[in-house]
Structures are given as C-alpha cells and as structure tokens.
Symmetry: C2
Subunit: 338 residues, 2 copies
C-alpha cells in the first residue's frame, strides 16, 4: 500500500486540500501507521507559513498522530500489526551515532522530522522509523492522546532532563496546548505549581488542572512578590516576555527553561546568572524512552490533554480556530479522509 | 587590636594611599586574619572604578587574602590562633537561612562581601566570619595561594555545581588569572581540554598548564571545525564575544558557562538552546565546603597559580601592571605594610 489521502498545502500559507499522496516503498526500518487521530500544534501553523525557513512544499502537516500499525518493514523491531502507537515531531534517527547509542535519539544530528520533506499526520497513513512509533499504554484514550506526542513530551522532557524534584517550586508561563499539560505533569510530580496567565477567563480551569495559584504576568506587584522564589520556570510561549522579571522570580540555582521557539534572542544578563547561579536553557521533544516514560506517567496519574475535535477533512477550519487563539486547549482531528 | 594599616582609595579611580584604619570591635562570630599575602583580581579594578555601582569609599581592595588567624571572636568555630587561612570575595553569610543550611552559603541573600562597606585584604589585618576563613592544607604555599580564593574557586565551583565528568570535552575561553587555573583543574579532572586564546605568545605556556590544544578564537576555520564538539565551555573573560560561534561549538546537551561579569546581556537564541538541549548559565564563587574541596584537590594535584609578586606598598604599580594586561598570570602582593 503506497498511496494515502492527505490534507496538503501546495505552497506557503495556502489552504489545505484533500489530495492523494504516494508514500513510495516502505523502508525496511520503517512502519506505516493507519492514522485515527492527529493533534494540531502551533508548529503546524509555523511550518505551513514557513516561519522557520525549513518547510518544503507540498506540505502535509501533522506531528501528533495516533493510530494502529498497518505495515512493518522487514527490520522493524518491537511492534506488531494492529498495535496502537503514537508519532510526534521526530520520525527517525540514525540509531548508530554516539548520541543515539546514549539514548538521546531526539538529539541525533541525522534525525528526520515527521513533516519536513515527507508527509505528516494529516493523512490516512503516516510512516516512521519503528523506534519513533511509540506504543500507547492500554489506559490512554486514542482520541485525545495525539497532543501527548508533541505538546506533552515537550513539557515532560525538561522535567526529566533537568531532574526537577518534587520539593521544588515551579512555574509555567503560558497556559495553552503545552502549558495545560505541564500543569498536570508538575502537579502529579509533587511540585508547588504557579501558573502565569494573562487571561482571567481561564483561571478556574487552570486551578483545576493542578496549579496551586495563578499569577497575572501583567501585574507588577504579583510578579515582584515572587522575587527569588521559583526553582524552575517553564516557558511555553513563543513570544518575547519581560525576561528580567522572570529571571528575578528565580530562586538561587533557578532555571528559566524554554520550550517555545521565540524568534528574538533572550538577553541573558551575565551578572544575574552568576550571582544567583541561574541558567537559561532549552530542550526539544524527548527521546523514545522518555516518551514511553511520559505515557506511563500520564496513564498512572490519569493525565490527558483537554481537547476539541474537528473532522480531518475540516482541518482548515481547525487551523483557523487555533490561529484565532480560541483553542481550549488542544485541537485534535478525527480521521474521516478514507 | 582594632587598628590596621591599609592601602585605601579615598574615591572612585583614585590612587591607593597607605592609611591607618579602624576595624572596630571584633564581632563574636568573626575572626581576624594577619594578612601575609593578597592576590589582585580584575574585580579589584572594577570595584576601584565603581564599574558595577556597588562600591563604597574609602575603599580598601583585596579579596584573595592569605594569612594566619590573629584573633577569634567568642563564637568562632573550627579555627585556632596561628592557623593558616585564606579569604575570598565573601566574608560572611547569615548561616541560618534555608540556602545556608543547604550548604549554599555563597548564595545567601544576606551574604557580605569582603571589600564592600568594610576594608578588604590590602591591609595588615582583615576580618571575616569564621566559616569564610578557610584553612589552608599543609602542602599549599601561602605566597601563591591567594588567587585560589577568588580566581581558583570561581572556575572550580562550576565544575562541581554542573557535575562536569572526566569523559567530557571542555573548553576554556580567556587564559588569564582565572583561565590558567581552569586549565589546570580540568586537566587534573580528567577532561579533554581545549584552550581558546587570541595570544600566540602564551601558546607553549597554555599547553604546559594542561590544555590538549590551543584554538585561536579569531580563526573562523578553527572555530568551525569545533562545531558540535564541546560539552562544557567555561568563559572567563568579561567582554562580549562572538556568542553564536561559541554556542555552535557546543555538543548536544552542551553548556556555555559564564564566570566573567560581561556587562552586555548575552543574546541567547531560543531555537539553538532548544534543538541542541543547550544552556547558558553562571556561577559565583563557591561555598566554604566547595572551597575546601578545591584546596584539597589543588594540593593533591600540585595545582597552583602562576604568580608575579609586588610589595603591598607598591599596590598602585601592581594595579597598573594588571590594567596594562601584562599580568602573567596573577599578581600577588606580599605584605610590607606593618
């Protein structure tokens, strides 16, 4: 089976159109996934508009795909036909460089992205290296799981990489697709959780997601009261902030951690970093092993994305909904393309 | 004994003059050190010129003091009269906040600096809280030990704090007072060590200090060849660099670490931090316990500052020598003020 039906953009910024695509012969080390659902991430918009200069057209978006294994290459390992799996931003790694052998497949210099130069998850079928088709635990609902494979692992990975401890005071900036999952993970992790949001309308929901308190980032008095208090501050937005106010909110040894692709460089003041032993850092999505750990943790703690559903054939409407800032909190497309 | 003789600056940028000073009654938790030697650090120049806006005058510089315990307050612990000790940038911490109780006395929000609002080490006597008068191991030479208490601990502390491992590839930018000690520590630590220097004249000495190779930071081809290779990059200079070239030299999970007080903010590009799981961070001088560990390590590995000696009465000449960039590699004043 080399053909599929996809929602495809012929050029930068163009609307998606339902199109047959040719997936070509299945690579030995790849698997083919019959997509049942695919989440929509802000990066899908950035890629559609070529904001990062790395898009290739025609472009089939989608890197939060969930479905079942429909075909296995002869060298695929650890999966069986019909098994439920999810696929995120990365679709393959070389598996043999030192970084891969160290378990950091997500940092492999030869890694490939699901939707760059190859069709993504807004399609009936999507392909990936077997290592990146990560099995879904039984207790995870396929209809809402997609966002875990990009938004979820993006905010879970830094907690693991930087060894955030349950005794720490943490903050989450931006309570959207990523942030609403970060609140759930960090609350279940045992931390003291502060949410930063400029939207009063989300307040009750944010507390229900796990925040111990909500701070308005526009309120200077509230920000000043936090001075020196936070051990870990996770920034999920992709726009410039009042960085100095957030750096001031860090406790000694505190970390300002970025997972949102802010285009303007963050002006990091050496004196503030030095005197408080602070850091500014970033992480991409996690490795296959960290993704499995995240899924196990989510299943054990009943953590799930809060989603809105659109039929995949109406992906353009769904993208408009996200563009308008109306998504509460992640949009998932249910596949009706077949 | 409340009086001492010091080299004191009456106002910003003024020459030092030999002056009697009144140290006042000895605090219960303080000790008085009879200074035999005091190193000179670039921060002494910055403080003399009030570059950071925190200086108070008259100002007695000096925060790399070595000597013997001459008097003990009634609450001083762990020291005896006549014991050899050293004193660095910090002279006291509250000892009871959570940060102090956690061993991070150097990050205590109530810490005091040796030469801010109180006279520093360019004097016959200097005072400090007992915890910050750190005993000198027997094998450490008093005449050259002073620079360990600022330059030395400044570059040793990040190796400990960020758990640099002997298997890592590390770089040191700027081979001066701090950098020449960093090379010695990192070589003894077991790392692969690259020195960055723009001075050809230091090359042989730099290799003798422990670098496996010397790279000219002005040579674009040499810099490009390092792309993606360094796990830990210690920046000891206090001037803006080609930050992107250094960030590019970092391996996945790499860290650009600052100990030099660069005044201009470092423009940290979010995408580079995120995609390579990189960090920009800083540390101040270490805690008393880390200082003790540094001294033990230096004694075991025969690590010592390379020093030039001036009589303390000629501190102005010594400061001019440092200002002119001629110090190889750290200037130490031998006390002749008595």
């Amino acid at each position: 089976m080399h053909t599929a039906i996809a929602m495809s953009a012929p050029s930068a910024g163009a609307a998606l159109a339902k199109t047959p695509i040719d997936l070509g012969p299945l690579r030995d080390d790849h698997v083919e996934i019959a997509v049942s659902h695919c989440g929509i991430c802000h990066s899908d918009l950035s890629m559609l508009h070529n904001d990062w200069g790395i898009s290739r057209y025609p472009l089939v978006p989608g890197h939060e795909a969930v479905g079942t294994v429909a075909a296995l290459g002869s060298g695929a390992r650890g999966l069986r036909i019909g098994q439920r799996v999810g696929l995120g931003w990365y679709s393959s790694s070389c598996m043999h460089c030192r970084t891969c052998l160290d378990g950091d497949h997500n940092l492999c210099p030869s890694s490939e992205a699901t939707m760059i130069g190859r069709p993504g998850g807004f399609a009936t079928r999507v392909r990936a290296h077997w290592a990146w088709a990560v099995p879904l635990p039984e207790r995870i609902d396929a209809a809402s799981a997609g966002p875990l494979f990009c938004g979820g692992i993006t905010v879970f990975n830094p907690i693991v990489q930087h060894n955030v401890r349950p005794t720490e005071r943490v903050g989450v900036v931006g309570i959207g697709g990523l942030g609403h999952l970060a609140l759930q993970f960090l609350r279940a992790w045992g931390c003291d959780v502060t949410a930063f949001s400029s939207s009063d309308s989300k307040r009750d929901q944010i507390l229900a997601m796990g925040a111990h308190r909500v701070v308005s980032s526009r309120d200077e008095a509230q920000m000043a009261a936090l001075k020196g208090s936070l051990d870990f501050l996770l920034v999920t937005v992709n726009v410039p902030l009042n960085w100095n106010a957030y750096l001031d909110a860090l406790a000694p040894r505190g970390r300002l951690h970025l997972v949102g692709a802010v285009l303007e460089p963050i002006p990091a003041p050496a004196m503030a970093l030095i005197s408080g032993q602070k850091a500014v850092s970033g992480t991409p999505l996690g490795s296959p092993a960290t993704t499995q750990a995240m899924l196990d943790f989510a299943a054990r703690h009943r953590i799930a994305p809060i989603t809105e559903s659109f039929p995949m054939s109406r992906a353009n409407d769904a993208l408009d909904h996200l563009r308008a800032g109306k998504a509460r909190y992640r949009v998932v497309l249910a596949n009706d393309l077949a």
